[in-house]
Symmetry: C2
Subunit: 337 residues, 2 copies
């Protein structure tokens, strides 16, 4: 562990003079501002997420996965919008300038950034309680961004990938459920290194009527779509519960994982767990083939879990078509009393 | 003091449905991303600054001035680039959702934002040690951004407004110097409510060869210009010391303020104090009239303090033309050992 100066820190870990600037970036790190040059006529999609130690991650988390996750949660917002990533700024408060930590953090960050052609264009570093704030920029043709407000009555509701594993890992790490080591490792991957669905979001331009990323929990994030669209929804719990990746691995039936984790707990993880960074989106039934093609293009499975209704409110149905109280599956709220 | 939920907090203090979206903003707060639509052909200038409690401000600072300052330091980066403000994102970590604090903070923030037509387009709120991260967006015609790298040998060096008052206030608040109450109030205004020089930055497009904002201290920030331009400079200390607003108020001569603050301390405040958020810039001597016109247009005085040299290094000269050691005026470094 060694202490570095602020400018040396930036130069050593966050300036990459050897790399050409990415598409859409005219000036990168090192001036008062970065300069972006979006493609002619394109709109710029912008999102910020702040990750706080002890709140969004454990203080002793592997800094490489933290670097990955800090960018992933932001790219996930671009994905939910159907935007192509261009660049990002990184503001970082650190208790100390630890070289090993910074090396691993920046490696995790840049590995994901490079995968998406997303250039670090600027930011800020300061001393303080560990806090990572990333603002990400992408571009999307005018009128083609996926908004939360476009869901229509009768639309199908889909979810990408799997849901609930991140929440299950968190419960295990908190000692609230007991998972075998291999299952813990598997679910922990979802918690610590989520995969933003950028390609799927872009493939859903012109296909999905509305989209959001699942960061606070499925029902909460779907709720945002419904609220902003002025609609309601029916969601099938028996389909949703199978969205948890660890459900389908054959280790359990009536109670997965040899009954160590109860079905209600699994359903809670799936419906309200959060930290999934999958996409929840709506599309007209006439677009089912197009949705499948988007799924194939992106290489990400999607599951139809319900449909949009004219009446407001969200109805969760069990396998027998009986309504399950859904209000117990509360979404995550950082300031909930 | 009452506790609010996260979404209520955003809706109450940071969503402004009554206002039309500003120029260049197609979609504001409330979706996964905001959508910016820069004017055709314009480049987007982007900058992020993070303010940490106890580091950048006192924990008990008036939240209204804090809201102002958090945006001001970001607008100052746009000013240094010559960019016109469009919008900003706000990520906020709060120990608690205190309604009074949030009301005052958002009032200070929006008062300055409205002054510059700069729209809050999105962001994030979370619980955590108080931390404010703003990313600001502006637009500038391609090729007209003021960069740090353009200074030419023979250029004049200018500073806008006054320098050192913020640092003097900080010394007084830390009990290191003694200021009369009225002088403390005056200097404290510079520390807590700096004025970003946005109009001046825009007026200097095509006139200044290089610019930076003075956030870490004059010599440090001028040093960035010189380093990135591959040049050196001569700076006149006897001109610089008069840049401190409280110097010229007639309260002292040999030692201003009735000898309570020594000249070396004042010079330290001016040259290395930081937190000034003025502009330091360079321009060819042939542009002196144009610089004056820019100053008049913006209504901000500028002072010529030296000139750019071919030889690297920064020479500080006293009134007799004798070099003063300038290395003692170290710039602020958040990670200095």
């Amino acid at each position: 562990m060694s202490e570095l100066g602020e400018f040396e820190l930036i130069a050593r870990y966050f300036k990459r003079p050897e790399r050409a600037l990415g598409a859409g970036v005219a000036l990168g790190v090192g001036d008062d501002c970065a300069l972006l040059q979006p493609s002619p006529g394109m709109q710029l999609a912008v999102s910020s997420d702040m990750l706080v130690s002890g709140r969004h991650f454990f203080a002793d988390v592997d800094p490489r996965t933290l670097g990955h996750k800090a960018l992933a949660v932001n790219l996930s917002d671009l994905a939910a919008c159907g935007a192509q990533p261009l660049g990002f700024t990184l503001a970082l408060a650190l208790p100390e300038a630890n070289a090993d930590w910074l090396a691993a953090f920046s490696q995790g960050l840049f590995a994901l950034a490079d995968l998406h052609g997303c250039t670090l264009v600027g930011g800020d570093t300061t001393r303080g309680p560990l806090n990572i704030c990333i603002t990400v920029f992408g571009e999307v043709p005018p009128g083609q961004a996926l908004l939360r407000s476009g869901a229509q009555a009768g639309d199908d509701i889909y979810v990408s990938g799997t849901l609930g594993d991140a929440a299950l890992a968190l419960l295990a790490l908190q000692g609230k459920v007991d998972l075998p080591p291999d299952l813990l490792a598997q679910t922990r991957q979802h918690l610590e290194a989520p995969t933003p669905r950028v390609a799927l979001g872009m493939a859903l331009r012109g296909v999905a009527t509305a989209a959001a990323d699942v960061s606070d929990g499925l029902l909460g994030d779907l709720g945002h779509i419904l609220q902003q669209s002025g609609k309601g929804a029916i969601v099938h719990a028996e389909i949703a519960i199978k969205l948890i990746a660890t459900y389908a691995d054959g280790t359990g039936a009536a109670g997965p994982f040899g009954l160590k984790v109860s079905a209600p707990t699994l359903l809670q993880c799936v419906l309200a767990g959060g930290d999934d960074y999958e996409l929840v989106f709506t599309a007209a039934p006439a677009q089912r083939d197009a949705v499948q093609r988007a799924s194939d293009t992106a290489g990400v499975p999607v599951t139809r879990i319900g449909s949009v209704t004219t009446d407001a409110g969200l109805t969760l149905l069990d396998a027998n078509g009986v309504a399950v109280p859904s209000t117990v599956f509360s979404s995550f709220d950082h300031f909930a009393p």
